[in-house]
Amino acid sequence: MRERLQELKYDMLKCNRCNFCKMAPFPTIVSKQYEDICPIFKHYRMHGFTGSGQSYASIAILEDRVTPDQTFAEQQAACTACGACTTMCMHHTETDRLEINMALREHLVDEGFSPEVHKKAIENLKQHDNLYGDLKISPGAWAEGLNLKKFPEQKAKVLLFAGCATRYNAAYAASARKFAELLLKAGVDVGILGDDEPSCGLPAFWRGYKDVFVDKAKSVTQQLNDLGVDKIICMGGSCYGTLKARYHEYAEKPAIGVFHATTVLAELIGKGKLALTTPVPMTVTYHDPCYLGRRSEFKNKWQGEIKTAFGQMDYYDPPKRHNFGTDGIYDEPRKILAAIPGLTFNEMHRIREYAWCCGGGGGVHDAVPEVEQSTALNRLEEARDVKADCIVSACPYCENTFSLTKKKSDRKEIREMQVLDIVDLVYKAAGLDA
């Protein structure tokens, strides 16, 4: 992986320490408490824990000033891989900072350095196709009793990819059931993989185990391509971003179109196929998951030349399609929330491509839980700051992180805050929630 890091040295050197990778864009800043954009800088307050710092640390490795070691790997593991640094830096330097951070992580893994908990998690992923080991709950257990078509024995036009979180997160499993019911109610010809549903492999990517991830991506892509479906709908934002963007970046993406639950629901609601007539009198806010949002942007594999103009200005020829994070899924969840009668929706301050990470990504949950906690608590505080009683999202990692972390808050209104998937609200509004 050193070669990959070496390829990125050109991008590393574009950093001129402007500090913007630490802060949310100015017009969005309304409070000191919510002005940060980088979770690890907010937690540690040292420059090494930023997109810029990671770039310079990478240069230090390439120039043999720093030797990879276990401590470095354990500290580098704090990055949640949220991509906010990329979004902030892209406009300033045309650089994908997170790509460098991940290349660094992959290099450290390649050198044999990774938190012990990550090593264990990857072993579990290889052996049991999930992070936690031999789980009693099978991948298809969430759908019991729904009589959904089951691939490959039965055919359907649409695959519902539920995600492995259904195996260890009961609330998420329940949300997946609700989504399936909504699809059936709307007359969608949907099927599932059931116990054959694989993990998308995102945990391997996050932990820097590139080879494991690439193998996973290839096998999952092959499996999905063989189904003969028209469409893949991912229940979870994390799966969506992985199949849509990361697969293409590291291996190859499925030949079939990948969609997210919110896109489909928004369309069904818009076409009148799902009537939302039951009021849901709640005040909610919506958390944009990183992998549904900025990290779901398709990353083109650019091929071209770096040319120089005006003596010193490098430019990409042909122009590179940069990932500003703007093409993520942002509008559809909002359209859904707007369509729910009786619902009050208050935006948080850091939203869309500038959303604050939940803290649950990047393998941080197991390796550096204190970062996950401080990050999630900041987000919950932000939800409360906009007077929401409920934080809604569309990703199992986000929802799990908020559900677990809110209990650690010293504020009652945060401990009592509801954490829901957007599907749960649609289900209520559709009158299906007895």
Binding site: F26, V30, A57, A60, F72, Q75, Q76, G311, Y315, P318
Partner: protein, 577 residues
């Protein structure tokens, strides 16, 4: 390279706690860049400094004091950094403890009536603005933007900020400093030291602020500032961005959509002129009666770059020549009125000043109106007689004034206002990885124009040879300050860190700046410890006096002072007693 001994580490952990010190090599190297964007002469990579012995993030002045006292007892030193933009506040000795002040980020107090704020080192200007706007006050914001430290801008660094004409020039807004001195004493200048409150650093007797702040500050190289009292300027705008009047929905990185118009007592004006003389004349008149709330000269290259997202687009845009022909001499000015009557008077005065100077007030995206653009090019370049010029100028202005106000206008005005208020640099790092400035002579605006000309003479041959980016050569940025009394211009230029030609050119260009100094320009922006030796002999040997102060105040060499007093041979300076 030096690694702390166990005993040293233990002592420091006792002071700040385990989680607030790092001796990991990778972390230390994340801070190990000298003037972040300076290229290495071989064009291959980073210009590394000495690796600091440790990175420490103190939280209180007591912790900073204890660390400093410890350095007096040992061969360790401190160097201080806060937001660390561009300069990075790197160590230059391997025995240096780099104090990153990012945990000292409080706004200690804010007094809207006396228009004063007391801040810790990592309180950023935007943090101050969020509170101060509610009290109708605004701090000076240095050119790197409101992401920068208010304290550092006033105590330690230089640089223009477009609201300097109404909010004061940063270093001159200092009303007091709490300073952990190199010997470990803690001083509060002036009234704060006397227990009277934070309202002046001057007295009793001499103003001791003069020991640490001139045009430059110490840049982290002489003790640690832990608080600063800043005089704020007035603010007549909305109490927040995000309210009904001026709000931005996040849609894209560079295009923030505004909900609603600018408040009725504010405007952002972009004006263009046929020549530097015309523009300067207008700039004088705009500021001397405090017409403008902010002002800056925007070089054509920067204007071309600002709305674009990548260099490939910039190539096309710049090569088209459009900006060079129309925006060669452009000013951006905000107007605010403390009352509606005042705003209307100011806008009327502004319009007259622009018109009298031969300028045009712009509105709209000019490319949407090619005939107007064409006429402007004719106005500026066709060699018209004065009467012809005036007739065409008034005609163009009338046509621009008659253009419909479009959502794009509203968006641009809102976004530009927000950017101007917080001095957002719109991708200034993008053209090439290293951005520098030559010169920066705080005198009057006229002097800035002269300096810019001289700087262009230095720059042009390097541009021709390809060692400095060809940005049209004239990229003098700056503005008047303090009601137009002072003025400042610095000519920015870009060099690509990984381009060998550029990397070799940069030190030569800076060295050539000595020719400016020899003529009479001050070395201000490019002075600071590292260049003191080079420029000081032309300026009354100020480098010697700086080193004498270092010797007096830091007898035990507890501070890594290269950014303050220059090269490490400070011990050799003869004292004058």
């Amino acid at each position: 390279m030096y690694n702390l001994t166990d005993e040293q580490r233990k002592k420091l952990v006792e002071i700040v706690g385990e989680e607030n010190i790092s001796t990991e090599p990778w972390q230390r190297d994340a801070y190990g860049i000298w003037f972040a964007s300076q290229p290495r002469p071989d064009g291959e990579g980073v210009y590394w400094t000495e690796r600091a012995a440790a990175i420490i993030t103190p939280r209180t002045v007591e912790q900073v004091q204890k660390i400093t006292q410890y350095c007096n007892e040992t061969d360790l030193m401190i160097h201080v950094t806060s937001t660390g933009q561009l300069v990075a506040g790197a160590a230059t000795f391997d025995h240096t403890l780099l104090l990153d002040m990012s945990r000292m980020d409080d706004i200690v107090s804010m007094d809207g009536e006396n228009m004063t704020v007391v801040v810790e080192p990592f309180a950023r200007s935007i943090d101050v603005q969020m509170q101060s706007w509610k009290k109708n006050c605004n701090p000076y914001v240095i050119s790197i933007g409101a992401v920068g430290s208010t304290l550092a801008a006033a105590t330690s660094h230089t640089g223009y900020g477009s609201i300097g004409t109404s909010c004061g020039y940063g270093p001159r807004t200092l009303l007091g400093v709490e300073w952990v001195m190199p010997d470990g004493d803690v001083i509060r200048f002036g009234s704060a030291g006397q227990g009277s409150g934070w309202f002046t650093a001057a007295g009793p007797g001499p103003d001791l602020l003069g020991s640490i702040r001139g045009f430059n500050g110490a840049m982290g190289g002489l003790g640690a500032y832990t608080k600063a009292a800043i005089k704020m300027g007035p603010w007549y705008g909305p109490s927040e961005i995000g309210g009904d009047e001026i709000a931005f929905g996040c849609k894209t990185p560079s295009n923030f959509i505004k909900k609603g118009g600018l408040p009725k007592n504010m405007s952002l004006n972009t004006t263009i002129y046929p020549s530097m003389e015309a523009m300067s004349d207008a700039h004088y008149h705009m500021h001397e009666e405090n017409i403008c709330y902010s002002g800056s000269r925007m070089p054509a290259f920067v204007l071309a770059m600002a709305p674009l997202k990548d260099n490939a687009s910039l190539v096309k845009e710049w090569e088209s020549g459009f900006h060079k022909k129309i925006y060669g001499y452009t000013l951006s000015n905000q107007i605010q009125g403390a009352s509606q009557d005042e705003y209307e008077w100011k806008q009327k005065c502004f319009n007259k000043v622009v018109s009298d100077a031969g300028g045009i007030r712009m509105r709209g995206v000019l490319k949407m109106y090619p005939k107007i653009a064409e006429d402007i090019m004719k106005l500026f370049h066709a060699g018209l007689s004065p009467d012809e010029y005036r007739t065409l100028q008034l005609d163009i202005q009338a046509r621009i004034d008659a253009l419909p106000v479009t959502p794009i206008d509203i968006m641009a005005a809102g976004a530009s206002t927000a950017a101007a208020l917080r001095n957002v640099d719109p991708g200034l790092a993008r053209p090439a990885s290293a951005m520098f400035t030559l010169g920066g002579n705080l005198d009057t605006w006229d002097a800035g124009v002269v300096q810019n000309k001289l700087t262009m003479e230095i720059k042009e041959p390097y541009v021709t040879k390809g060692g400095i980016l060809d940005d049209g050569v004239d990229t003098g940025c700056g503005n008047p300050y303090e009601g137009g009394h002072l003025g400042y211009t610095e000519n920015v230029f870009w060099v690509n860190r990984v381009n060998k030609n550029g990397a070799e050119t940069l030190p030569k260009a800076i060295g050539d700046a000595v020719t400016e100094i020899q003529k009479g320009i001050s070395s201000f922006t490019i002075s600071s410890g590292m260049n003191n030796e080079r420029f000081g002999p032309y300026e009354f040997d100020y480098q010697i006096w700086t080193k004498r102060i270092k010797k007096i105040l830091d007898p035990n060499d507890a501070c890594d002072s290269t950014t303050y007093s220059g090269s490490p041979d400070h011990k050799e300076v003869p004292m004058n007693g």
